[in-house]
Amino acid sequence: MKPNVVSDKSKGDGVDSDKSKGDGVFIKLKTFEKQMSSYKQNATSPTATQTIPEERNLSLDNGETKAVNHDGEEAEMIEFCADDTEAVNSDEEETTRSNLPALPTKEFSAQNILDNPITKDTPQPAPRYSQRPNKGVTKKQYEPDIKTNVRYPINNYVFSHRLSEPYTLTINQLSQVSIPSNVQDALADPSWKEAMNEEMKTLQKNSTWELVALPEGKKAIGCRWVYTIKLKADGSLDRYKARLVAKGYAQKYGIDYQETFAPVAKLNTICILISIAANRDWPLQQFDVKNAFLNGDLKEEVYMELPPGIIKQSSEHEGRVCKLKRALYGFKQSPRAWFRRFTLAMKATSYQQSNADHTLFVKHKDGKVTALIVYVDDMILTGDDSEEMRTLQEYLSAEFEMKDLGQLKYFLGIEVTRSKQGISLS
């Protein structure tokens, strides 16, 4: 919401990285050297002329696929599909494993950014050098760039030196960690694999699907993994996140889904709630439901292919598909399924759904009021009945997996601060 962000974005497309071209090679060398020493990959300290060929060698190395039969990983992979699989053929587990060094740890990368004033203040030079020996030869598109880990580092396009420290950190962090685009890349990295394992465990705990043979005339919908990195408020790396999403675009209306509309809270209602809370000194609490959509029950019969990365070779699992019992991210009806589930849960504890805004639930008890408003998976709880609020919180935590975010601080990108004078939104 800060104006300088808006204006900076508006500038984004026009920015040219020519400014730093003069000292481009130097910077390149500097950052490269740093990475070299920190990853302990290569003991040689390259000179300016050596830098480029050296880097090319490395990238070639990375591109090379090595068939590694890693038993440890496989054991882990079986772990979460143990009930489904008896025999897993290990041949297929040969994932392409690059010798890309492990991604920098949280402390290291934060430190690296702080210690490296050059990357912070100057945009990275465009990868174009006059003294490149193989000038004119087109660079292979899929060569992983060891220096920044991403193909289009944001530093090439956005100046960060005018941003405040947290924003700079965030932007640098974006360039530090690469996000894998397919399962093979992700499986090669322990941190991503762990994230995938975690997601699979959640799905299993929710008993999201059962394995069945695909009935005649039905179509299974594909699915894929989506990877993101979660950053903390100060821009440092929080965690790796993998999410299994269904390819909802393959769904057909009337067959795989019927209704898709799900209401979200109106901003006006939220404003009124905050105003009332300010006038009566009610506390405002914020909650977040983990994996909200996974809680929704599917009414339709939907079949999905097995998640990629889990290899089932035995004939028993050949042609098996997942019959979904719970909703998954990506399906068209998921938000609706989740909201229906949530409404039922709220009504079960005798909360009344407001007719003006269906996302508002109110309970009157002994002349005291408790109100809860939900925006997909974010909710605000307020009222003057602290006991009832606690009961509701416990009830909801039992029903869904909840995260207590404490006092309302940040909602839909709006910062909420509370002082003696009142509540301010900015």
Binding site: S10, R162, N279, S424, L425
Partner: protein
């Protein structure tokens, strides 16, 4: 844009913006993205509601003049950063509404623009500035429509 000078007001008085056949077009995608962000910003910045309402009327055919108006809003925001809504304890428990309208303010269609704001318990809850749907034949009619 980063080095721009802040300005006191978000939009010129009597801006006379409209869509003209001889206007110089501008990058439409960029314009729409920028105005979209400003629209979201109006949720906590009622002061730019009118200006944003005006520039969002040209989303389909923005000209250089229009994007300059958007830049002016950004300059205004630079001069008045970190503002927001304050919800305080006022001790009043009623709902109040205010409205106002101009007459034939739109250059091309001569429709009127009206605005309203409502207070619940002394705190600003909703506000809007919008071009009326029909052409008002008198300022009284325009005001009346603004109320409705």
């Amino acid at each position: 844009m980063l080095a721009c000078k802040p300005i006191e007001t978000p939009i010129q008085i009597n801006h006379r913006l409209g869509i003209f056949p001889d206007q110089i077009p501008t990058d439409i995608g960029r314009y729409q993205r920028l105005v979209g962000k400003l629209i979201y910003l109006t949720h906590t910045r009622p002061d730019i509601t009118y200006a944003v309402g005006i520039v969002s009327q040209f989303m389909h055919a923005p000209s250089k003049e229009h994007i300059d108006t958007v830049y002016r809003i950004l300059r205004y925001l630079k001069g008045a950063p970190s503002k927001g809504l304050l919800y305080s304890k006022n001790g009043v428990s009623n709902i109040e509404g205010y409205t106002n309208a101009d007459w034939a303010g739109d250059q091309t269609t001569r429709k009127s623009t009206s605005g309203y704001l409502t207070f619940v318990e002394g705190n600003l809850i909703t506000w809007r500035s919008e071009k009326q749907k029909v052409v008002a034949r008198s300022s009284a009619e325009a005001e009346f429509r603004g109320m409705a």
